[in-house]
């Protein structure tokens, strides 16, 4: 695809690349380096304002973090919350993708339009709408259930459940649309052959369709894990910054609160590093799973 080499190609190429590289190095590369650097220092309000000298802690912030019971609670909550969101998103998305293949166009269009609406709603607006729907006094849900006065965001577990439901609501459409496209891409002859061989509907589903969809399923699963592991907006808005006494915190919000509310920038940065490493491990597992399932990169 390359044109024959012309004089000054190298210079032209670097001129084309320079603006993008400048932005990426300055606002992605340098901050990544800074994140690691800050996490190695005692970096609080005094240090930020220049009132106290910087102290190098080495891995001090990390040992503080790992020996803090609070951190392990938040980590466990984050993993549990992400697991529920991922499972819910995949289940709803997959069931609706199959449902979409069984109905006529008008019903499918209705379903897809509704899903598109949920998909397009900005997280801030979506969170606020859900809060109002579940409002203790004026909410429609309490009206229908006859539980007027019940605060869904007060109890730790109903609060987590409510946020998870909102996250699933706005993320299942991606899974549904992707899997629907995947099912549609399976050639009709494959399914006919299975039917001719006497395979039952359930047999076709598990032995023919599922293996063919495997690569796509891996993609949407990992994508969902990556998204749901770092939910920020929904938790922050719906539980008002992490719940009463911080009992609805997840890692992302925890790092933010440590840094910008408690002015423990070093500690906050170390949480950010831990989060990044965990997500990179997931991504690595993703690439390996893809390779094993025979997909070329």
């Amino acid at each position: 695809m390359t044109t024959t080499a012309r004089k000054g190609d190298g210079r032209v190429a670097s001129a084309y690349l320079a603006p993008a590289l400048l932005v990426l190095v300055g606002l992605m590369g340098y901050p990544i380096y800074q994140l690691v650097l800050i996490s190695l220092f005692d970096y609080g309000q005094e240090q930020v304002s220049g009132g106290a000298p910087l102290t190098f802690l080495g891995l001090g912030n990390y040992t503080t973090l790992l020996s803090d019971a609070r951190f392990w609670d938040v980590l466990a909550q984050t993993v549990g919350f992400a697991a529920v969101c991922v499972a819910g998103t995949l289940l709803v998305g997959a069931v609706l993708a199959v449902l979409a293949t069984r109905v006529r166009t008008w019903a499918r269009t209705t379903l897809f339009l509704a899903a598109l609406g949920a998909w397009a709603t900005p997280a801030v607006a979506g969170s606020t709408i859900w809060l109002f729907l579940f409002d203790a006094n004026f909410g429609f849900v309490n009206e229908v259930l006859g539980t007027t006065g019940l605060s869904w965001t007060y109890d730790k577990w109903t609060a987590f459940g409510l946020v998870a439901a909102q996250v699933i609501w706005c993320s299942f459409p991606f899974v549904m649309v992707t899997l629907y496209a995947g099912i549609k891409a399976i050639p009709g002859e494959v399914l006919e052959a299975a039917a001719l061989d006497g395979a039952s509907t359930a047999g076709t589903a598990t032995k023919v369709i599922l293996p063919l969809l495997r690569p796509l399923l891996i993609v949407v699963t990992i994508q969902s894990i990556i998204w749901d592991f770092k939910v920020f907006t929904q938790i922050y808005i719906m539980t008002n910054g992490g719940g009463i006494a911080g009992r609805n915190l997840v890692l992302n919000v925890y790092a933010y609160q440590q840094a910008f509310a408690a002015s423990e920038y070093g500690l906050g940065a170390s949480i950010g590093v831990v989060m990044t490493v965990l997500l990179l491990l997931v991504t690595l597992g993703y690439l390996r799973a893809l390779r094993r399932s025979g997909e070329a990169l």
Binding site: G10, Y16, L17, A20, A120, F138
Partner: protein, 281 residues
Amino acid sequence: MNRRASRGFAEAAAVVVAAVVAFPLYWMVLTALKPGAEVISADPRPWTLAPTLDSFVRALTVQSFGRYLLNSLVVAVAVVLLGLLLSFLAATALTRFRFRGRTTLLVMLLVVQMVPVEALTIPLFFVMRSVRDVAPVFGLNHLGSLVLVHLAFSLPFAIWMLRGFVAAVPAELEEAATLDGASRFRFLWQVLFPLVAPGLVATSVLSFIHAWNDFLFAKTFIISAAENQTLPLALQVFVKPDQNDWGAIMAGSTLMTIPVLVFFILVQRRLVSGLAGAVKS
């Protein structure tokens, strides 16, 4: 007969699910249109007989939502336009030229997409604080800071997507253009750019939506300049303990959702096929 019954059942299920999924959006628009007394009624009804635009008027005048709408629009449009320019140039360099370090750059662009940008709030806050001292417009408390970070976050994916579109344009075209005496510059903007334009749509929509929806960075960077807030943050300002003006909040949410919804509907086909292409490659 059995087949038809099961299809009928599936279609009924699809309609019920669609209604449930769309209900929060219906409730948002409905609440925005309800008169004040109905919004805070003890038994809310799923319809209104006296729709009014009062809540929208309140949101736009009392809370000066219009100003924040404009701010959000400025940030999102600037991110899209700058992103288009920069990613188009970079993608051209990466596909139509061979140079040392090209493969390394491509791998880096992929790896950088896996970094959770939320983790970068802390260092970026300090970067923006330093930028403020040099170029205030691009530093803390100014919209420029938001443009810069969202531009950076959108570039890796945009470049990666555009590469395929640029590569699809045959090299002979450039040779022909050169023989006709077109300069590199003219070829770039008058031949290549229009041919690649369809590929720009999907990436533009994605960068627009990211910039438009962003809550975290707006919250972190715009700390003391109320006039420079964007929509997601402004919406939170309306939320007060125990005395929320839900009508205005829902009117604001509606104003914030509509542009994205229109965008999604306009480009849904291209978006899905573009995403599928990105997943495959």
